[in-house]
């Protein structure tokens, strides 16, 4: 079977997340989660509020460097938020988010900025607690590396750059579908040579 890879600039399909620009909103608590170049989106958002000190006094900022090593934590640390936390990686950040969510009340505003991997996984934790979808703002900045679930073995490969790529769990050659699951916080990877084993097109770098 001939498999056409989705061009990077193809029109989005309807399960593909869409992102906007972060806007300050009134809230009792502002939970701000960012990685990679998402730090700059947070700084810009805070520049738009009329009550910067009031908002920062009710803000909990969590940040981790991006998958390619970009670390802008200094920009966020100097803001003077009520709480600031820098985690070394996203897996090291998420347990803190889950703990904060346990105490968060209605009226909490969520701001997610950075890579799709961060946005998707943070959003999944927030939605699992029952917060309305509308209280979560998302802005994509920085790396376009993808988090992809192998539909065959269910293992997730982080930071996928090429298409096709080899599943880091079962080793099948997968192409990256644009189809995205918010529940799994990942795109779908499907075996590219299922019908003609061994006939794998050359990998191209699609995500950076």
């Amino acid at each position: 079977m001939k498999v056409d890879l989705t061009p990077v600039n193809a029109p989005s399909i309807r399960s593909r997340p869409v992102y906007a620009t972060l806007e300050p909103r009134p809230g009792k608590l502002h939970v701000i989660v960012a990685d990679d170049e998402g730090a700059a989106a947070v700084v810009e958002m805070l520049g738009k509020t009329n009550d910067r000190s009031g908002m920062l006094a009710a803000s909990h900022v969590m940040y981790c460097p991006g998958p390619t090593g970009t670390d802008l934590s200094a920009q966020l640390e100097v803001l003077g938020a009520a709480q600031f936390f820098r985690a070394p990686t996203l897996p090291a950040l998420l347990p803190r988010l889950v703990r904060v969510l346990a105490d968060a009340h209605m009226g909490t505003q969520f701001y997610l900025a950075g890579t799709e991997g961060l946005i998707g996984q943070a959003e999944r934790e927030i939605m699992a607690t029952g917060f309305p979808f509308a209280s979560i703002q998302k802005e994509h900045r920085g790396s376009t590396l993808r988090r992809v679930q192998c539909v065959h073995c269910k293992g997730i490969t982080e930071n996928v750059a090429t298409d096709p790529f080899k599943c880091s769990h079962c080793g099948l050659n997968l192409f990256v579908r644009d189809h995205y699951s918010r529940r799994i916080a990942a795109f779908m990877g499907v075996c590219i040579d299922a019908e003609d084993p061994g006939q794998v097109p050359e990998s191209v770098v699609r995500f950076q």
Binding site: M1, K2, I13, R14, S15, R16, F133, Q149, V151, H152, K154, L172, R177, D178, H179, Y180, S181, R182, R183, I184, M188, V190, C191, A194, E195, D196, P197
Partner: protein, 356 residues
């Protein structure tokens, strides 16, 4: 049902076929004219094409609300095998339990009403007694009390019901697929799609979004009323009568698509029809979506002259994007070549049913 279920083909007057949907592929239709042929004209394009799901012509798949046919026992054995291999094929998010009970009630009532020789349901308040003779199941339980069934209610009834089903929660002006089972699916993953909304889970379908098909369908479905179910068709092609064409196992069944020749086309290539029906559920206000799969080999389809002519024309003229999405683009030319020999060019009458 358990995997040690003993199938006795002589029971029930020999009605239920002892057959397989894997390995030996002994599945076939005793009477192909019973098959729900999905094309009412000589060409095909996506459309909402929803119509009331009313009991229809005797001796067809439309006779009853739920069609229990000669493949029932064999399909339930196949489903039990798939679930044993991959429990992720049946999922229900925590808030969908009530919709699961609604579905169980819908199915038990329909089967006991339409097939009293095989199923019975006796109720004393919430104390229910269910008998499923073909599968050898007898169960007393308390309706709405999960602890009284061997599985959660959705999975319990799905292990006794043909067709893949999804349950849609309604909120924020759309439908969310928050529960589902898929063991006879045309290459979509319930594990990946559970939790998605209506437009998200249909996202990979080509051409239809642009035509507004999903916007119109959603608008229609949000108005669906309890007691007024609707239905539509979908279709694709499958090499060998393989019910479980799951993306999860695509690397295992995909190579079958390369085994076709003009000599084996008639036996191996199957038109795969989904008779889809939708029901508003009374307590949960969720919508149950039944995707019932029927398979018929090309050689059995062409025994009906009208269907032979029409299938040839539909496949020949189908837009390339659709043949690609439906997964048979690599075999389309060979299929058309084989089918062309069964099409004498005569006009066909409107509608699905055979002429005589």
């Amino acid at each position: 049902m358990s995997l040690d279920f003993k199938f006795a083909p002589d029971d029930f007057g020999g009605f239920f076929r002892d057959e397989t949907f894997r390995d030996t592929f002994t599945y076939r239709n005793s009477d192909p004219r019973r098959f729900p042929f999905p094309f009412d004209r000589d060409d095909y394009m996506y459309a909402v094409n929803l119509e009331p799901h009313m009991p229809g012509r005797k001796g067809t798949a439309f006779e009853h609300m739920l069609d229990v046919d000669e493949h029932y026992i064999a399909e339930m054995i196949d489903r039990a095998k798939v679930l044993a291999e991959d429990p992720l094929r049946c999922q229900s998010l925590p808030h969908m339990t009530l919709a699961g009970w609604d579905t169980l009630e819908l199915i038990m009532e329909a089967k006991a009403r339409d097939y009293p020789q095989w199923f019975s349901l006796t109720r004393d308040g919430n104390r229910w007694h269910w008998v499923n003779r073909p599968l050898g199941i007898e169960q007393s339980f308390t309706f709405l009390d999960e602890s009284t069934l061997p599985y959660p209610p959705f999975e319990y009834i799905m292990r006794q019901t043909q067709g893949d089903w999804t349950l849609q929660d309604e909120r924020d002006g759309t439908l969310w697929m928050d529960a589902g089972i898929a063991t006879s699916q045309a290459d979509w993953s319930v594990d990946f799609d559970v939790g998605m909304n209506f437009h998200e889970w249909h996202a990979p379908v080509p051409l239809a979004h642009e035509k507004g098909v999903f916007d119109r369908a959603l608008k229609f479905l949000l108005k669906l009323q309890h007691g007024a179910p609707v239905r539509r068709f979908n279709w694709t092609m499958t090499v060998n009568p393989l019910l479980d064409t799951a993306p999860e196992t695509y690397h295992k069944w995909g190579p079958m698509r390369t085994t076709l020749t003009q000599e084996n086309m008639g036996q191996k290539m199957h038109l795969r029809v989904e008779l889809q029906s939708l029901y508003r559920l009374p307590r949960s206000n969720a919508i149950a979506f039944d995707i019932r799969c029927y398979l018929c080999s090309f050689e059995q389809i062409v025994t009906v002259p009208k269907w032979a002519r029409r299938l040839h024309r539909v496949i020949r003229d189908l837009p390339e994007e659709l043949a690609t999405y439906k997964g048979f683009i690599r075999n389309r030319d060979a299929m058309v070549e084989w089918l062309s020999k069964c099409d004498d060019g005569a006009p066909t009458s409107p509608g699905w049913f055979p002429d005589d």
